[in-house]
C-alpha cells in the first residue's frame, strides 16, 4: 500500500517545478497524472500523489472515474484526505466494501482494473520497479517495504502509471530487484511471460513524462513540463535516455486545478 509515498527516496519535491510560476513539482505531477485518466475508467488507487490525481480527475474531467483501494473500498468519496490506504474515510459513504480475497481475485486478477498506479525507489530503463531492497536480497543495504499489491497490479492492471521523482539513483539502468515487472523483466517480455496487462505505459516524473517505446519497451522522454529541458531530464536518469524527435510540452496547472488541490484535496499540504 501507500506506493505513492514510497517513490522519491530522499528527493525534495520543492527543488523542482516552477516556484516562480507559483506551483510546485508535486502539484504539476498530480495534475499531469490526473490528465492521464479517462472518464469512466476503473482505477486501483495508491495513497499520496496518485490519490490526489484521481480525486482531481473526479472533480474535473472524469466524474465517472471508479476508485478502488486494495483495502476493499470501492467507489469511495473520502470527506478528508486519506492518510493510509485503509483510512476510515474511504469506507464511510463508499459504494461497496469487500474482503481482500475479492479485491485481488474478482477485481484485479479477473481483469476488471483498467489503470493501476505504481511508484518505487528504483525504476529502470525497461519499466521494472524495485520496492524490495537496495543491494543484495539476503543482506540488503536498505530494506524497502516490499511488494504489497504492486507485483499483481503491475501484472493485471490493463495499464499502469508510474509516479516517481527523477534522479540517477532512482532511475538506474537496471533495478537491484524486480518487484513489479516492466516491459522486459526476469525471463523475457510481458508477452513471453504471459502477463495480461500492458504494463507501465507512462511514467509521471517531476520534470516530464516518460513513455515506453512500442517495440523495445524502453522508457523514452515523451513530454516536458514548462521550464524543464531534455538535457535536464537526461542528466537526472541513470541510463542514456532516448529523447524523441518531437516531444509534447505539458500545459501548466490551471488555476482551477491548483485551487482544488490546495484548498479542497490537500489543504494541509501533506503531499504537496
Amino acid at each position: 500500500m501507500d506506493r505513492g509515498r514510497e517513490d522519491g527516496g530522499g528527493e525534495d519535491e520543492k527543488t523542482r517545478g516552477r516556484e516562480d510560476e507559483g506551483y510546485s513539482a508535486g502539484e504539476m505531477m498530480a495534475v499531469a497524472a490526473s490528465r492521464e485518466l479517462r472518464d469512466g475508467e476503473v482505477v486501483f488507487v495508491g495513497i499520496g500523489l496518485p490519490n490526489l490525481a484521481c480525486n482531481l480527475a473526479l472533480a474535473t474531467h472524469a466524474p465517472g472515474l471508479v476508485l478502488i483501494y486494495e483495502s476493499g473500498a470501492v467507489g469511495a468519496q473520502p470527506k478528508r484526505l486519506p492518510v493510509s490506504i485503509g483510512d476510515p474515510a474511504l469506507v464511510t459513504g463508499s459504494l461497496m466494501v469487500c474482503g481482500m480475497a475479492d479485491v485481488f481475485q474478482f477485481f484485479l486478477q479477473n481483469g476488471r482494473i483498467e489503470v493501476g498506479f505504481l511508484g518505487g525507489a528504483q525504476v529502470d530503463r525497461l519499466g521494472n520497479i524495485n520496492t524490495t531492497v537496495i543491494g543484495d536480497y539476503a543482506a540488503p543495504a536498505i530494506r524497502l517495504p516490499g511488494s504489497g499489491g504492486a507485483a499483481e497490479i503491475a501484472i493485471h492492471a490493463r495499464r499502469t502509471m508510474i509516479v516517481a521523482r527523477l534522479s540517477p539513483r532512482a532511475f538506474p539502468e537496471r533495478v537491484d530487484f524486480i518487484t513489479s515487472p516492466g516491459h522486459r523483466a526476469r525471463g523475457g517480455t510481458r508477452r513471453e511471460l504471459g502477463i495480461p496487462g500492458a504494463g507501465p505505459t507512462r511514467v509521471i516524473t517531476d520534470m516530464g513524462i516518460l513513455e515506453a517505446n512500442g517495440e523495445s519497451g524502453e522508457l523514452e522522454l515523451a513530454a516536458l513540463y514548462p521550464g524543464a529541458t531534455a538535457d535536464g531530464v537526461r542528466a537526472a536518469v541513470g541510463w542514456d535516455l532516448r529523447v524523441r524527435e518531437s516531444w509534447d510540452t505539458v500545459l501548466p496547472p490551471t488555476a482551477a486545478e491548483l485551487q482544488l488541490l490546495r484548498h479542497q484535496l490537500d489543504p494541509d499540504h501533506r503531499y504537496l
Binding site: M1, D2, R5, E6, I47, G48, E70, S71, G72, A73, V83, S84, I85, G86, D87, P88, V91, T92, G93, V97, C98, G99, M100, A101, F104, Q105, L108, Q109, N128, T132, Y137, A138, A139, P140, I142, R143, P145, G146, S147, G148, G149, A150, A151, E152, I155, H156, F177, I178, T179, S180, P181, A185, R186, G187, G188, R190, L193, G194, I195, P196
Partner: protein
C-alpha cells in the same frame, strides 16, 4: 457456555512460545491490546504473519518476541519505515528470518488455510524476483489450458487473533468496514481469539446474521477490550490515530526511544484499561460522528 475471559488469560492459555501467530486487520481492527499482552507475557520464538507487519509487529520485533516474519508490505502506512524491522533485517547476520510474498500471495495463503487446501493457485509473479527470493512460491499446470499458474502454500496459524466491533459470549463475531483477511485468517487457524469493542446479546447477532464473519464454533476465547485496536481504529467506534503512526517514525528510528516507549506504554501498564487511563484525551481526540447504516428486514 460463555467463552469470555480476560486478555491476560486468553494470551496465557492460547499463545505459546514457538507458535505461528497471526494478529490480522488491514489498517482497520489491528489488535494492539493483544500484542502488548503477548509482549508483557514475554512470548519468544514466535513466527509472526501479517500482510502488513505495521507498527504492531515492529513493537513485537523490538520486544524480542519474534524469530521469523511472514509478510507482504513492511512499511509504516503514510509515515515511513518500520525501523525495528529494518534494524533486524539490515543487521549482519540478519536478526530476523523473513518469508516474503505480495499482498495477493498472503491473501491466497490464508484462503488455502481457511479452505483446508494445501495450496492456492494465482496468476502472479511472472517476471519478478520474488520466486527467487522465496522458493515456497511454486507453480502448477492447468489441466484444461496448459497454463502455468503460480502457487503459494496454505498458512495454518496456531492462533489467530481478530479484533472486531462486536460478538456474543459464544464468539459469533460481526465486523463492518474494511474486512481485510480476518475471516480467512480465523478459519485457517487452530485456535481463534476474538477481541471486541462490545459484547452483545446473541439476539443482536441473530437480528443481522449476514454481518457475522466468524461463527462461535471456531472461537476459543472472547475478550472484551474497548479501544483495544488503538492506534489502529474500529469503524463506527473511534478513528485511526494517524498522529501516533506519524510519530512512530521518530520513535522507532532510535532503538533506545523505542525501548523507552515499550517500558512506559507496554511493560509500564498492567493492561489496556490502564493504557487508556493514562491517555484521558484519547476518546475525545479520536471520537467519530455517527453515520447510520439504516435497517433491513429479515422477515
Amino acid at each position: 457456555m460463555s467463552k469470555v475471559v480476560s486478555m491476560r488469560q486468553a494470551i496465557a492459555e492460547h499463545v505459546h512460545d514457538g507458535d505461528v501467530v497471526v494478529v490480522e486487520g488491514f489498517t482497520h481492527l489491528i489488535c494492539f491490546a493483544a500484542a502488548h499482552e503477548i509482549i508483557r507475557q514475554k512470548r519468544r520464538d514466535l513466527t509472526l504473519c501479517r500482510l502488513t507487519p505495521d507498527v504492531i509487529y515492529d513493537q513485537m520485533i523490538a520486544a524480542g518476541c519474534a524469530s521469523k516474519l511472514v509478510f507482504s508490505w513492511a512499511g509504516n502506512p503514510g509515515a515511513g519505515s518500520l525501523h525495528a524491522f529494518r534494524r533486524a533485517v539490515e543487521s549482519r547476520p540478519p536478526a530476523l528470518e523473513i518469508e516474503e510474498y505480495s499482498h495477493f500471495g498472503m491473501v491466497a495463503r490464508f484462503s488455502a488455510g481457511a479452505a483446508g487446501l494445501p495450496f492456492w493457485p494465482l496468476r502472479d509473479y511472472q517476471g519478478t524476483d520474488l520466486p527467487t527470493a522465496n522458493p515456497r512460491i511454486r507453480s502448477v499446470t492447468c489441466p484444461y489450458t496448459g497454463d502455468t499458474l503460480a502457487t503459494v502454500p496454505a498458512l495454518y496459524p496456531d492462533v489467530t487473533i481478530v479484533h472486531a466491533q462486536r460478538a456474543d459470549a459464544d464468539g459469533n463475531t460481526q465486523v463492518w468496514g474494511l474486512l481485510g483477511v480476518q475471516k480467512e485468517a480465523a478459519f485457517a487457524a487452530r485456535r481463534v481469539i476474538v477481541v471486541v469493542e462490545e459484547l452483545v446479546d446473541a439476539a443482536v447477532i441473530r437480528a443481522d446474521p449476514n454481518r457475522t464473519i466468524i461463527p462461535g464454533m471456531i472461537v476459543q476465547a472472547v475478550v472484551v477490550e474497548p479501544f483495544g485496536a488503538h492506534p489502529s481504529y474500529a469503524q463506527g467506534y473511534y478513528d485511526r490515530d494517524n498522529d501516533f503512526y506519524v510519530a512512530w517514525e521518530a520513535t522507532s528510528r532510535s532503538a533506545a526511544r523505542l525501548q523507552a516507549y515499550l517500558d512506559e506504554w507496554v511493560h509500564g501498564v498492567a493492561d489496556r484499561a490502564e493504557y487508556l487511563r493514562r491517555q484521558p484525551d484519547l476518546r475525545g481526540r479520536l471520537a467519530v460522528k455517527p453515520a447510520w447504516s439504516g435497517e433491513v428486514s429479515y422477515g
